[in-house]
């Protein structure tokens, strides 16, 4: 996953998005490994247009779609699903319109922080919200990272 190029492309296109999942954990200091970039995005129609444009150059396809079947990537594709799991030239990218434990994009953004990285400003979940989403997701890989994230949270808490 080329996280840096993906995030720069999204930011440069002006996409309203929040980094969630494993890369958010990494931004907070986790040593966990992740294979895909999970982002929550605004379903505002202008934003859908920007999102479609930002990723078009990286040839997104649905990961669970047979290679033989045609797939058109455009703005019209985006409102059709709450979650799109994409394979791109940059690696796997998952697009979520909602996040379990938090809600829709505005709820997610309200629990996010702005981080300066790669000459861009990018939003990512704050640590308490990230912990909440991992706990709610409840999969083994989510639960496994919880002790580390809880430790990071405690280490950063004020006296």
């Amino acid at each position: 996953m080329n996280f840096i190029v993906a995030v720069q492309a999204l930011a440069d296109e002006g996409v309203d998005f929040v980094i969630i999942g494993g890369w958010s954990a990494i931004l907070h200091g986790s040593s966990s490994v992740t294979n895909d970039l999970d982002i929550c995005y605004s379903r505002n129609s202008d934003n859908l247009k920007r999102l479609a444009s930002a990723l078009a150059a990286f040839h997104p396809r649905l990961r669970d779609l047979s290679q033989d079947l045609p797939f058109v990537w455009d703005q019209a594709t985006l409102p059709n699903a709450a979650i799109l799991t994409l394979s791109t030239d940059l690696g796997a990218i998952d697009l979520l319109a909602e996040v379990s434990g938090l809600g829709g994009f505005e709820d997610v953004k309200a629990h996010s922080i702005l981080v300066q990285a790669f000459d861009r400003e990018i939003w990512t979940l704050d640590l308490p919200a990230l912990i909440r989403t991992k706990r709610v997701a409840g999969r083994a890989k989510d639960l496994q990272v919880l002790p580390e994230l809880e430790g990071l949270l405690e280490a950063g808490e004020p006296e």
Partner: protein, 75 residues
């Protein structure tokens, strides 16, 4: 708007102290007992978010090179 600022030296020193000397019953101690290497967390906290991402990229690239070499050896 909440902006993530780099921790002050005092805040970072306190975080490092907590990670080096976990308090009994703390979440940090629980993480240690779970198997988390707290020295790695100390190292990561000293980095900026961008540096953390770059380290992860470097590690992933190194792992991919090892996997590639292993695949070549098998063929």
């Amino acid at each position: 708007m909440k902006t993530r600022h780099n921790p002050t030296p005092d805040r970072l020193a306190r975080a490092e102290d907590l990670l080096r000397n976990p308090r009994p019953g703390s979440r940090i101690e629980a993480a240690q007992k779970f198997g988390i290497d707290l020295t790695l967390l100390i190292e990561k906290l000293r980095l900026s978010p961008a540096e953390r991402v770059r380290r992860m990229h470097d590690a992933a690239n190194a792992a991919e090179q090892v996997r590639g070499a292993a695949r070549r050896d098998r063929t």
